[in-house]
């Protein structure tokens, strides 16, 4: 598998070695958060709000405290006062009071499932018994869970200190709308006037959860000397450290975060929930404390992606040239401000070259769990709206949907509605690969069957990454990095170092280490790790190669410039040493070789993907079966093609879940009714076919190997592609997610 690809300029990149963490993972030896065990460790439980909106009148913990086996009980009064503290934790300034309230509620609970108190006890059962003895008196308040309702003047106000931020201007009255975004390019009215056909539709999407299989877990040990260590499942150990330090108001250097193996995150394991609570319980009890969530706590107490309402209008000429686009997007933020409204507004028209476009976005707080990032946050919603309307335009204009997209596709030089001008991108190449694919060229026959195609976009951010590596006497290299590995990134980073040094992937031993053991590294998110941490690994490679060259020069008594390095072989004037041979000599001849690099690449690179799907709909039950599915995506350069394909397939499966069944059901009290994997329906493997993949490679000019991040784009097109396929199968335009059997059946029967 990992012999070099014939004709490739690379020896390691593009091959498929077994991942370094693979053996431990398949044999069950890998250490996940809940595998952490210490002697005298206590186990905790969290008490959560039964109300969607209520004032906390009083909390009485006395009975819980005297329950046998209980070592500590905490409430928000054990937390430092965070009122009016703002902090930049790497992704913009956040109000620490909100973050703190989301960890343990202070005066009000704003969603069902919000943490209110916690207990540490000798075992989880005792902790659960004690939790039941905490008496909380609530004064219930009216709750609001639908975004348009929450925007109304007469809606229950969640916060009296949240004001609308309208592109920098602050409203004078508190509001549930915490943010407005307005982008304008050209003159939309003029554009629509020039159109021969205009289509406008409204869309609704449900709240959906990342659905990672591993629930949240944190273990904390707060020492007498004030040093706090946290072992946890996180996408960013440094982000976790910063949040814990800020919430607890202790110096950041007093906190060490040890990232464990992580059983999925998809954006949902960046914000802290249990970590500061476990820390406070540990401080109070003097023992290590472990907190784990149950599945219902994950659904109700952690952050899903927003539910939304969107209106999109597109105009085009008879020839199929888009003349204008207009989008109005309202996202629910959940209980506290913040969320992906910005990216949604940037992404909605990002695949196409519009002369005139207008985008208005609104971010709205309401009584649901605080939303968090979920794979390409905001872009999946936006693509549903834009791509469905575009498909209707294609239908009206009688133009092939791929042709219409190609006619308008964004290319190098296209300016997005939010400002940036694209560098070299692969949007056109992706569409062409879709056009040339076996899937697109195979006829689809049979009643109630239809094919859909949709395009999607997501950025990759750069942010900061650090790495170091040392050369071992046996010719291997130990690589130390800070990017927690949720998608095979150990392998893709190690392979970039191996390529740089001319050694094999197996000769690099990558380690993901704690915050005391590596330089600052931002979260595993934003499709950035293979790109940015990979860049750091490349630079580590250059650093090591430089040192190795000097050492070879010393051996051969020549100047380093005269040492030739090719494919890991160092030579000069007839002398030559492989990397391993040179490594073996290092110890006897001088100091060790340690390479280091830290990077903060500018700007964002851009990932485009097109999805093709064939469906069959049972018109009598409204059930949709996915018959065939192909993901086509620009990876820039696929370092490890299997893991690129895995990302493409995984994203598609999650998108299929959004499309067909996933949704939070709330009753009229704002209570989630389906907080389990039985009734929150992610696809099982019987619900999806094999997902075919086509990797397109249009190298990213800003990366030495051309890498573009691939993790997020693949969740973007599926709901749109499936909505379009359903239309082609049974003739109805579905504009609400999920397109679950009751809804689809209703739409079909209303039509006939």
């Amino acid at each position: 598998m990992n012999t070099p690809v014939p004709g490739s300029q690379y020896k390691v990149i593009g091959t498929r070695p077994i991942r370094h963490d693979g053996m431990d993972k398949v044999t069950g030896k890998a250490k996940y958060g809940a595998d952490v065990k210490f002697s005298k460790m206590l186990y905790g439980r969290v008490l959560r709000s039964p109300h969607a909106h209520a004032r906390i009148v009083s909390i009485d913990t006395s009975e819980a405290e005297s329950h046998p086996g209980v070592f500590a009980v905490i409430t928000t009064s054990d937390m430092p006062d965070l009122v009016d503290k703002m902090a930049d934790l790497g992704e913009g300034v956040v109000n620490m009071a909100h973050l703190g309230d989301n960890v343990l509620a202070r005066e009000k609970v704003l969603y069902k499932g919000q943490a209110v108190a916690a207990v540490a006890a000798s075992d989880v059962h005792v902790a659960a018994e004690a939790i039941a003895k905490i008496k909380v008196e609530y004064e219930p308040l009216p709750a609001v869970t639908w975004v348009l309702d929450a925007m109304r003047e007469d809606a229950p106000l969640l916060h009296d200190n949240v004001f609308t931020d309208d592109m920098g201007k602050k409203s004078d009255k508190p509001s549930n709308v915490d943010k407005e975004i307005h982008f304008l390019k050209g003159d939309a009215e003029e554009g629509f006037a020039a159109a021969d056909v205009v289509v406008e539709r409204e869309f609704k999407t449900a709240t959906v959860h990342q659905g990672y299989i591993e629930p949240h877990v944190a273990t904390a040990d707060w020492n007498e000397d004030g040093n706090l260590t946290v072992w946890t499942s996180t996408q960013g150990s440094f982000a976790c450290r910063a949040q814990v330090a800020e919430i607890l108001q202790i110096p950041i250097s007093k906190v060490k975060v040890v990232p464990c193996e992580i059983g999925g995150g998809f954006g949902g394991k960046i914000t802290v929930y249990l970590q500061p609570v476990a820390a406070l319980l540990s401080k109070k009890s003097g023992r290590p404390v472990q907190l784990t969530m149950q599945r219902d706590e994950v659904f109700e107490g952690t952050g899903p992606t927003p539910g939304s309402f969107m209106r999109v209008k597109l105009g085009a000429t008879k020839e199929g040239k888009l003349t204008a686009g207009e989008a109005w997007i309202a996202f629910d933020a959940g209980a506290f401000p913040g969320g992906p409204i910005g990216p949604a507004c940037m992404c909605v028209f990002s695949c196409y070259d519009f002369e005139h476009a207008k985008v208005d976005g609104y971010n709205v707080v309401l009584n649901k769990p605080k939303t968090q990032a979920y794979r390409a946050p905001g872009s999946t919603h936006a693509a549903l709206a834009c791509e469905t309307v575009l498909d209707e335009l294609a239908e009206k204009l009688e133009i092939d949907p791929l042709e219409l997209r190609l006619k308008n596709a964004a290319t190098e030089g296209t300016r997005r509605v939010d400002g940036p001008v694209y560098p070299r991108i692969g949007c056109v190449e992706v569409l062409q690969a879709a056009q040339a694919s076996d899937h697109w060229n195979s006829p689809l026959e049979g009643p109630n069957r239809g094919r859909g195609v949709a395009l999607g976009f997501w950025f990759n951010c750069g942010l900061k990454s650090s790495a170091s590596a040392h050369v071992n006497p046996d010719g291997t290299v130990t690589l130390t990095e800070g990017s927690t590995d949720i998608g095979g990134s150990r392998a893709s980073i190690a392979m970039q170092l191996a390529e740089t040094l001319g050694i094999t992937a197996e000769e690099v031993h990558p380690q993901v280490v704690d915050t005391d053991s590596v330089g600052y590294t931002d979260v595993t998110g934003g499709s950035r790790v293979t790109f940015a941490t990979g860049l750091a690994a490349y630079k580590v490679g250059l650093d090591i190669e430089g040192q190795m060259t000097s050492r070879a020069a010393e051996l051969w008594d020549c100047s380093p410039e005269n040492v030739r390095v090719e494919s890991g072989v160092y030579s000069h004037n007839g002398d030559s040493l492989t990397f391993a041979e040179l490594a073996e000599k290092l110890h006897a001849t001088g100091e060790a070789v340690v390479g280091r690099a830290t990077v903060a690449p500018d700007g964002a690179t851009n990932g485009f993907g097109a999805h093709l799907v064939d469906v069959e709909v049972d018109p009598d039950t409204g059930k949709t079966t996915i018959l065939r599915y192909t993901v086509i995506q620009d990876a820039g350069k696929a370092i490890h093609p299997s893991y690129v394909e895995g990302q493409m397939q995984g994203g598609a499966v999650q998108g299929i879940g959004w499309a067909l069944n996933e949704e939070y059901f709330f009753d009229d009290q704002g209570q989630m009714k389906n907080a389990s994997f039985l009734d929150y329906r992610i696809p099982t493997f019987l619900d999806v076919p094999m997902i075919d993949t086509i990797i397109v490679e249009v190298p990213n000019p800003d990366h030495p190997y051309g890498v573009r991040g691939v993790g997020e784009t693949p969740i973007v097109p599926p709901p749109a592609a499936i909505a379009i396929a359903i239309h082609n199968a049974v003739g109805v335009r579905m504009t609400e997610l999920p397109m679950s059997p009751p809804k689809l059946w209703k739409a079909i029967s209303d039509q006939s």
Partner: protein, 297 residues
């Protein structure tokens, strides 16, 4: 909320004698529960939906683990016999296809190797998959209490969601299903949004017996699940078919009639309108499948 609940301690007994089990059940005065496969009860105990001081395991009682079939006497099924034994026994597969359809879809392999039809019935969920098949196959429930035994038709067993006519101290010992006449066939189907891991949104079992010419229906029975407080027989729809030709039109008409007994609720699994509609669709489809099975036999 599962986050708050926990499996609290209880006593466990596993008697080998049915009367001993019934006596223990009665003596615990409502603080005991019966454990067959445990695939419902353990979940309920763990999630705090039920609590018990004593758990009585009935899998050591030989009578409850029977699976006896003879063409002229029919099937005698121990209440705790696991599902997989039913669908791996060829005679049962041929004689009671609707019941076999149900046992094949109750959970996955792990669940099927523990879960029993008796437990499915005693849990008395409106959506329980085995109950509509038991109804169309006219199963009889044989109950045992500390004072003795009695038998009731399965149609009298369930009384409300999660409720049944077992008296305090009473256990389900066996189920008997009458022998099958010639030219008879049955089928069970449920509708779920995914292809696994779901509770029926609506379900239907159909049983038909054709005359010797196989051109007319001699008798029929239709039962629906998940559309009423208990699984229900659709009498009118069943009667309608008697004497009629086994055609798509008649099956479809029976489906329309069957919808009349559906009185479902709106919930996260489906709306009233959708469930009523599905009851008709599934009736029609199971009738067609049952008919197909007669033709193939």
């Amino acid at each position: 909320m599962g986050g708050l609940t926990t499996l609290s301690g209880f006593e466990y007994v596993a008697p080998t004698d049915l009367t001993a089990a019934a006596t223990a059940l009665r003596d615990a005065g409502g603080r005991a529960c019966v454990l067959a496969g445990g695939t419902d009860i353990l979940v309920q105990l763990r999630e705090g939906m039920r609590s018990a001081d004593l758990v009585i395991d009935v899998k050591k009682i030989p009578e409850l683990l029977q699976l006896e079939y003879a063409p002229d006497s029919g099937l005698c099924l121990g209440a705790a016999t696991p599902c997989y034994q039913i669908y791996t026994t060829a005679d049962v597969v041929n004689a009671y296809p609707a019941l076999v359809d149900a046992t094949r879809i109750i959970g996955g392999w792990q669940i099927q190797s523990r879960a029993s039809v008796g437990g499915n019935l005693c849990n008395s969920s409106p959506a329980a998959d085995s109950i509509p098949p038991l109804l169309v196959h006219q199963a009889v429930c044989h109950l045992a209490g500390p004072e003795g035994r009695r038998s009731i038709p399965v149609s009298d067993f369930c009384t409300a969601p999660g409720k049944n006519s077992l008296q305090p101290g009473e256990l389900l010992a066996t189920l008997t299903l009458p022998p099958q006449p010639a030219n008879a066939g049955s089928a069970y189907q449920r509708f779920i949004p995914r292809n696994e891991m779901d509770i029926a949104v609506a379900s239907a079992a159909s049983w038909i017996e054709l005359d010797d010419s196989r051109n007319a229906i001699k008798s029929a029975r239709i039962a629906l699940g998940a559309v009423a407080p208990t699984p229900v027989l659709a009498e009118e729809a069943s009667q309608f078919l008697v004497g009629k030709a086994p055609t798509e039109e008649n099956f479809s008409e029976a489906g329309v009639l069957a919808r009349q007994v559906a009185s479902p609720i709106d919930d996260m699994r489906g709306t009233v309108e959708f469930r009523v509609h599905l009851a008709g669709v599934l009736t029609q489809r199971t009738l067609a499948l049952a008919h197909q099975r007669v033709q193939d036999s």
